[in-house]
């Protein structure tokens, strides 16, 4: 076995590889750019080599620098992770030349699968189902109709040079083909100056399902089930799961066997992924093969018990697979959420910077249930696992130079419903502060009926959140639970306030028991009665039992209500609590009935209409203002430049408007949401 390997990557995947290497007794070498000097992977590795400035094209993807690091440290093999050099045949070649093992597939396989057209051809030849279509160019509408008939409707007419939806049409009938062909052709000619057209099958209700394969260099290959990755935002996967709620055993087997056949056809030897698009009738079509470890590999590991990184290292070391296809069992259900440093309330804008708080939920290993890479029988009821793959830490930084992923949070449980519930709780207890992040959005998806029913397609986010994400309204039952919990927490906080020194003896304040809880626009009168182990909270005519060890200042409240546990994030707002739970972000006030009555008299102050304002999107310094009061600005016109994190950000007009007021000038330092200028 190798004594020392180098990980030519950063972030969570570098940490992930280091963990397995350490388990196997292999020493690790990390590489890092200037931006990653204090990164977690550098701290975790046995050795670390500096490889240059922050931009990846000057550090992580410069083959020479990695080769030098290998030479300097004497690493015998390299794990490339994903991205960066992982699918670069030149890198594999350079390693081969230097006599260093590449923990990945042979160069040829990378090349074969790296080209869209070649890979499709090889797939067809290997008997893999591909999207039916006519690869050649089509002369006229008559030919288009003929070909469409052969492919089967619906079909997609596509401009060869197409992009951005231009020159693209879906046709369900011959007439539509006839009309659409000419229209698309014209459009293509106008847009791209190239009117060549082709036709392929239009896949309805598409789902993204991929097969994990694992091959050794002795001609053995197996598949480790599938992963469903249909929850995507702009082709970026957000939530993945294994197995897919959609596949049946026969489809799984067919997809798996075809995937192995493809892998063998290109002499594959490592872990790899064959991606398919699957339609509503479970017809599946090959998309591409990823010749590397996938981001979402943990869900496969959780349901198979196989450590894919370990397998990759062993295969690279020339070992034979010890697993056969019969050894592979899919046990339980695993979910993965990608936590991104992006603000869901601001169109998922990246939100980089310091993680003032980063406290993931405690990991719960599924390990004891798995021996020798195999689940020992069925998982007992009530067992679950939580896994968090991350490259950051409390007080760490999300850099603007790289992928803004904070962590991959996975849960595993015997059933899909339980795995989803575990994920909801894990997200509720995941503390990330200092930057915007997508936890509220993820929570919202896990509560979405279309997702929980398993009935989703790759268009899920686009269809369900067409105008973006603007938070979650809790359902009545959850409101009651939050109200009951807050009443109990308020009681604890208020009693403590009465224990201050300097009180007037015998005239202490008595904390009452009749309160009104207001949240999400509603008021809920409660009566609370506390005892040694908790409190009984009456809301209207229903009575809830609340138990919690929460004390003031704790950022997480673990509360049991009527026997059911919940975790909420607790913060402060003036005179009340800020509660974050299941994607909702609420202000909760607990008041005496008199206070509540008087609070009712307070005018509701509507937030200013921000659609007519330019707000500062991040804390930063105004470098320059490009417009003056009275200017008419056009959509997309630069308004001003804000410097943040040493980066200059140009803020542009969202629509045509007239500048009526400018509140900030060059040199002003602004907080997020400060009004820079106003429009009419």
């Amino acid at each position: 076995m190798f004594k020392k390997i180098l990980i030519a990557n950063r972030g969570e995947i570098a940490c992930r590889v280091i963990k397995t290497a350490r388990k196997m007794g292999i020493q690790t070498v990390a590489v890092y750019s200037d931006a990653d000097r204090n990164a977690l992977h550098v701290k975790m590795a046995d050795e670390a080599v500096h490889i240059g400035p922050p931009p990846a094209n000057q550090s992580y993807i410069v083959i020479d620098k990695i080769m030098q690091a290998i030479k300097d440290t004497g690493a015998e093999a390299v794990h490339p992770g994903y991205g960066f050099l992982s699918e670069n045949p030149k890198f594999a070649e350079a390693l081969e030349a230097a006599g260093v093992a590449f923990i990945g597939p042979p160069k040829g396989a990378i090349e074969d699968m790296g080209d869209k057209i070649t890979s499709k051809k090889i797939a067809q030849d290997a008997g893999v189902s591909t999207v039916p279509g006519h690869m050649g160019l089509i002369e006229d509408a008559a030919e288009a109709i003929k070909i469409s008939g052969e492919i089967g409707y619906p079909v997609m007419l596509k401009a060869s040079a197409g992009g951005g939806g231009k020159g693209m049409r879906i046709a369900w009938t011959e007439e539509e083909v006839a009309e659409g062909f000419q229209a698309s052709k014209n459009e293509a000619a106008n847009s791209f100056g190239d009117d060549r057209m082709f036709i392929e099958k239009f896949v309805t209700q598409p789902r993204h399902i991929e097969i994990q394969v694992l091959c050794d260099s002795h001609g053995n290959g197996i598949y480790l089930g599938e992963r469903e990755c249909s929850i995507q935002r702009r082709n970026q996967k957000v939530i993945e799961e294994a197995p897919s709620p959609f596949l049946d055993e026969a489809t799984r087997k067919a997809m798996g066997e075809q995937s192995v056949a493809l892998a063998k056809a290109v002499g594959y030897a490592s872990a790899g992924t064959v991606e398919f698009i699957v339609d509503g009738d479970r017809n599946f079509y090959f998309l591409e093969m990823n010749t590397r470890l996938q981001v979402e590999h943990p869900v496969t590991e959780l349901i198979t018990g196989v450590d894919l990184v370990e397998q990759m290292i062993r295969v690279a070391n020339g070992e034979k697979l010890t697993l056969t296809q019969d050894d592979v069992t899919l046990t339980g259900w695993a979910m993965e959420s990608r936590l991104y440093a992006e603000d869901p309330y601001r169109g998922f804008l990246p939100s980089i910077g310091r993680l003032t708080t980063y406290r993931p939920p405690a990991e719960v290993a599924a390990g004891p249930l798995v021996t020798n890479g195999k689940w020992q029988g069925d998982a007992p009821e009530g067992v679950h696992a939580v896994r968090n793959d991350t490259g950051v830490y409390d007080g760490g930084e999300i850099s603007m130079y790289y992928d803004p992923m904070i962590a991959k949070l996975c849960t595993w449980a015997p059933t899909r419903a339980e795995a989803i519930e575990e994920m909801r709780v894990a997200l509720d207890s995941f503390e990330v502060e200092g930057i915007g992040h997508n936890i509220p959005f993820l929570s919202a998806v896990y509560d979405h009926e279309k997702f929980t029913s398993g009935n989703m397609t790759t268009a899920f986010i686009e269809e369900e959140y067409p105008d973006g994400f603007d938070g979650v309204d809790l359902a009545a039952a959850d409101i009651t639970r939050v109200a009951a919990a807050c009443a109990a927490m308020h009681r604890v906080a208020e009693i403590r306030r009465t224990r201050v020194t300097g009180r007037m003896g015998n005239h202490e304040r008595k904390v009452g028991s009749d309160w009104v809880v207001t949240l999400q626009g509603g008021s809920h009168p409660v009566v609370i009665e506390a005892d040694k182990t908790g409190a009984t909270v009456a809301i209207g005519s229903t009575i809830h039992r609340v138990e919690s060890d929460w004390t003031p200042g704790q950022p997480l409240a673990r509360v049991t209500i009527d026997g059911a546990p919940m975790v909420m994030k607790v913060g402060k707002v003036s005179g009340g609590f800020r509660i974050r739970y299941r994607g909702a972000d609420l202000k909760v006030h607990v008041r005496s009935s008199r206070q509540a009555e008087l609070a009712q008299l307070m005018p509701e102050k509507l937030p200013p209409d921000t659609s007519r304002m330019l707000l500062c999107p991040m804390p930063g310094l105004i470098v320059k203002v490009d417009v003056e009061v009275g200017d008419e600005v056009q959509e997309g016109q630069a308004l001003c430049t804000v410097e943040a994190m040493k980066m200059e950000n140009i803020l542009r007009a969202e629509k045509k408007a007239v500048v009526t007021k400018i509140n900030a000038g060059a040199g002003d330092s602004l907080a997020v949401d400060d009004v820079i200028m106003e429009f009419e």
């Binding site: 204090n38 009465t498 200042g553 704790q554 005496s592 102050k605 330092s669």
Partner: protein, 510 residues
């Protein structure tokens, strides 16, 4: 007998109604609570002891003899906030516009005298149209009596003013002399002369809100220490502030049970200081991470953001915090920040509240604006305030402590009791670049030599150890253990006693 009891009941009921239901509704219509409702929310439920319910004015001019509402436009008495005694007056805008008569003022004076005698804070709720014109000089005399008591009480009991309506003309000078002023957004204003007079005299067109609203006084003038969305929030936050304050200058700051770990390690603080010395970071994060339960009551949050002032608790006990804020103007000291912090330090010292200073200061802000406006004397206020303070003073230097500003910020030389420095500290006369430009002026044309000189200066002085070698820093500490260090430092100073030489009073450069 029952008739007599009934009369008391009737009279009380009439007094409760103040200016009558119509005016109460009008008050509510403006988004304001009535004087009584405010007292109700300010104090613990049922704890209000009212005085002078039946006081009436004695004016007989302009038909005033026919208008004699009980209480004369102000409600006075005492009650408790979380069981601790406070005196309170609340002007009733529904009664003669809350105008101040001789008797109205006398009621306020009465509770102020009692507050000083019994050692309890005074909270004044201001909502008054001003002097009662019908009374003429009697009304002015009343103001004078109140002013004099504000002065006498200053430094004896905490005085808090809540501006919840108009407060104009001479009336502003009573709140002006109290320790804290809080305003309510959109429904309160303070000015010496109103928009009409301003228009006549200076021809300036300005609204009452622009001239003296909450935004003006919290951001521009710094007259107010904070502003709240509405009456309910303002009163709740006032209660929260009182929880931090001692009752008087004879008693220690309050202590309450706390649910936090004294030894809590915050590993994230080890990365708070960015690698790049010119990159800002948020000093509030440090304050929140060292405070009990992350609770920070900020004073003057919207003014002179380059310095932060406010209260936290360590081991349940109140501590005043003064901290340079690198996020704003690099945390530089200037006229505004020096004035803001000086007043806060003096409040803490007057009421035996220990002071924690968190230092990251590049120096004083240069420029003609600063010099012409007297940064010398204003800066000296903070220096003076720190130097005269005899309360426990603990200082943590997190990064820059340059030049005179280093000395000012509760350094060892200003009788700092315990002065810690993070390993990231740079305690020097100035930054390396500036120092090189002066020390090696002749080499300025040679970038290579200049770089070498800069590096040399950095190596020599851009660290805490030169100061530590001289004992100007008591210990260099790990950022992650700051909370524990501070808790222990203040615990060790609980018995501190320090006297100033006898003097009538000092002569701080006002």
């Amino acid at each position: 007998m029952t008739d007599i009891l009934k009369e008391l009941g009737d009279r009380r009921a009439a007094a409760q109604l103040g200016g009558g239901q119509a005016r109460i509704d009008a008050q509510h219509g403006k988004g304001k609570l009535t004087a009584r409702e405010r007292v109700e929310l300010l104090l613990d439920e049922g704890s209000f002891e009212e005085f002078d319910t039946f006081v009436t004015h004695r004016c007989t001019d302009f038909g005033m003899e026919n208008v004699k509402p009980a209480g004369d436009g102000v409600i006075t008495g005492w009650g408790t906030i979380n069981g601790r005694q406070v005196y309170v007056f609340s002007q009733d805008f529904t009664v003669l516009g809350g105008s101040v008569s001789a008797t109205h003022a006398a009621k306020i004076c009465k509770i102020m005298d009692m507050a000083m005698q019994n050692g309890a804070p005074v909270i004044g709720i201001n909502d008054s149209g001003g002097a009662r014109i019908q009374e003429g000089v009697d009304s002015l005399a009343g103001y004078g009596e109140v002013f004099q008591r504000n002065i006498m009480a200053s430094g004896v009991v905490p005085q808090i003013s809540l501006i919840m309506g108009p407060c104009a003309g001479g009336a502003v000078y009573s709140p002006a002399m109290t320790d804290f002023i809080f305003m309510v957004k959109d429904s309160s204003y303070m000015f010496v002369t109103g928009p009409d007079v301003v228009k006549t005299v200076t021809n300036e067109q300005v609204t009452a809100e622009e001239l003296g609203g909450a935004t003006t006084h919290t951001r521009k003038s710094s007259v107010a220490d904070g502003a709240f969305e509405n009456d309910v929030e303002a009163l709740a936050e006032c209660r929260r502030l009182v929880d931090f304050l001692p009752l008087n200058n004879r008693s220690k700051p309050p202590v309450r049970p706390f649910f936090d770990d004294v030894d809590r390690v915050e590993s994230s603080l080890d990365t708070l200081i960015p690698d790049n010395p010119n990159q800002p970071y948020d000093m509030k994060e440090l304050i929140h991470k060292i405070a009990d339960e992350g609770d920070f009551y900020e004073i003057q949050a919207d003014f002179a953001g380059n310095i932060l002032t406010g209260f936290i608790r360590l081991e349940g006990q109140t501590v005043g915090v003064v901290a340079n804020q690198p996020m704003v103007l690099a945390g530089v000291l200037d006229i505004d920040s020096a004035r803001k912090a000086a007043r806060f330090v003096r409040f803490c010292d007057a009421f035996e509240i220990p002071i924690l200073s968190l230092v990251d200061v590049p120096g004083f802000l240069p420029g003609t604006t600063q010099e012409y406006n007297g940064v010398i004397k204003h800066g000296a206020k903070l220096l003076f305030a720190y130097g005269e303070a005899t309360v426990p003073k603990v200082t943590v230097i997190t990064r820059k402590a340059y030049g005179g500003a280093y000395v000012v910020m509760s350094s060892k030389h200003m009788r700092g009791d315990i002065n810690y420095a993070w390993p990231t500290s740079e305690i020097a006369v100035m930054g390396a670049k500036g120092a090189t430009e002066i020390l090696h002026r002749k080499d300025l044309g040679d970038p290579e030599k200049t770089a070498a000189h800069t590096k040399d200066y950095e190596d020599r002085f851009a660290n805490p150890f030169v100061a530590a070698e001289r004992g100007f820093v008591d210990e260099v500490i790990m950022p992650q253990s700051t909370r524990k260090r501070l808790c222990r430092a203040f615990a060790g100073l609980r018995g501190k006693q320090q006297q100033m030489p006898w003097k009538k009073h000092d002569n701080i450069p006002l």
